[in-house]
Subunit: 211 residues, 2 copies
Amino acid sequence: MKHLPHKTIERLSQYRRALLLCHEKGKSHIYSHEIAKIQHITAVQVRRDLMLIGYTGTLRKGYNVKELIDLIGIIIDSEDGLHVAIIGMGNLGRALINYFAGKRSKLKIVAGFDTNPDKIGNTMSGVPCYSIEDMAKIVLENDIKIGILTVPADHAIATADLLVKAGIKGILNYTPKPVNVPKEVYLEEYDMITTLEKVAFYVKLQEMDEE
Amino acid sequence: MKHLPHKTIERLSQYRRALLLCHEKGKSHIYSHEIAKIQHITAVQVRRDLMLIGYTGTLRKGYNVKELIDLIGIIIDSEDGLHVAIIGMGNLGRALINYFAGKRSKLKIVAGFDTNPDKIGNTMSGVPCYSIEDMAKIVLENDIKIGILTVPADHAIATADLLVKAGIKGILNYTPKPVNVPKEVYLEEYDMITTLEKVAFYVKLQEMDEE
DNA sequence: GTATTTTTGTTAAAAAATTCACATTGTGAA
DNA sequence: TTCACAATGTGAATTTTTTAACAAAAATAC
Ligand SMILES: NC(=O)c1ccc[n+]([C@@H]2O[C@H](COP(=O)([O-])OP(=O)(O)OC[C@H]3O[C@@H](n4cnc5c(N)ncnc54)[C@H](O)[C@@H]3O)[C@@H](O)[C@H]2O)c1
Ligand SMILES: NC(=O)c1ccc[n+]([C@@H]2O[C@H](COP(=O)([O-])OP(=O)(O)OC[C@H]3O[C@@H](n4cnc5c(N)ncnc54)[C@H](O)[C@@H]3O)[C@@H](O)[C@H]2O)c1
């Protein structure tokens, strides 16, 4: 397998999420068009993605749910799991910790960081909150590879720099301030307002078309 | 202007966010490569996007920040603004309301919905919380066009159906359960775990390459 | 046992998005 | 003035992503 498209990676994660639900419900096989329906895409798209990862279904029976879950895991997960930290234990940081807690996954939130002395030293949903001062040390000790940035926007850039200095390998930035990282650090930025504005644009477009 | 690419719409929103900051700082003009730097894309990409919306900069001086902000507004915003509701006033719902509060924008969160009697009747950051039972009425009365779904995953599908019945035009689904809507309703789904798994994949890839 | 249906896997085509390459031109320096 | 530079704007080329089309084969129907 040479090189998976970006979009395929995202979809594989989504397929797995859907497949896990099917598996829980006791479904042993699934057709490409069933997966497609759930994800609002086409069956060809699904088959193409699975082709790219080299998975072969059974003709007329579809794909083996369990096998496919496992294969997707082999492709996208790190074998030994991967440690994650949240920087900024405010509304969004807490919400995320809460959301992740309990999700058994190769990704584990093992630390939070904050500057607020009232938060430092406590744990939230089992995740200890450390002082930002100790970041380098904690990142090293816990082999943390990914940081989720949920500090106030004005501290985003400085905090991203700290993360890079601490040796983090990937950053997921939820603040609305784009940050800069060296090219060996993988960066993903997401702003909810952008998404909402996109929805709004297409709603407006549709209304204009109706006229 | 015939038809803007999906990606261009997202970037326009991001450009505007960056431009607003520049404007606040008193910067009157900006070059395509400056915008590009902020957004981690190429200058050609920026120029192409602006070409598509028909904006023309000044040679050697760049783009007029104020003018461009206004033009992007004309393209992506609805003239009279657009009302938004949050369904599920839990961790994430509250965090979002908090985040949006005060952002002056054409998009305004005007209502929240919940099933918890302790929450119904209160306001959060100025947004009143209504019973989900009253959704149809409130949506109509307040001309709400977009719903942000932040209910527990198991209620996502039923709640999306309610929104559609209430006459909503766009849904932004933050739950990990894909929902179904008729084709005249614009749907955008986002799962933070997918994004995190994507970051993790590329981190893993980089580590493998290093070996 | 043959035909029909249904589903996979894949090659080829199309569409969408990005980048290249470069003509154009305003600005400032020599 | 003339030259070199630095920026925009865009047609063409390239790359990426999606979709169409269809052969192959298993299951089912008759
Ligand atoms: N709330 C949302 O739904 C939402 C959505 C999208 C983006 N965001 C963005 O996410 C960020 C956080 O939002 P929030 O609502 O959680 O804000 P918040 O104010 O509730 O939380 C911020 C936290 O960061 C801590 N902090 C401050 N400075 C810090 C520093 N230098 N290092 C580490 N921690 C620091 C604060 O003590 C606080 O606990 C903001 O940038 C916001 O724009 C929020
Ligand atoms: N917390 C996060 O960071 C996060 C991130 C991504 C996605 N999500 C998803 O967002 C959703 C909400 O997460 P949360 O952490 O805010 O959960 P939460 O339990 O804190 O909040 C859910 C809220 O929805 C209300 N509710 C329950 N049933 C309802 C119904 N039928 N109609 C309306 N309201 C109802 C509850 O009373 C509660 O206030 C979940 O689906 C979760 O998976 C959360």
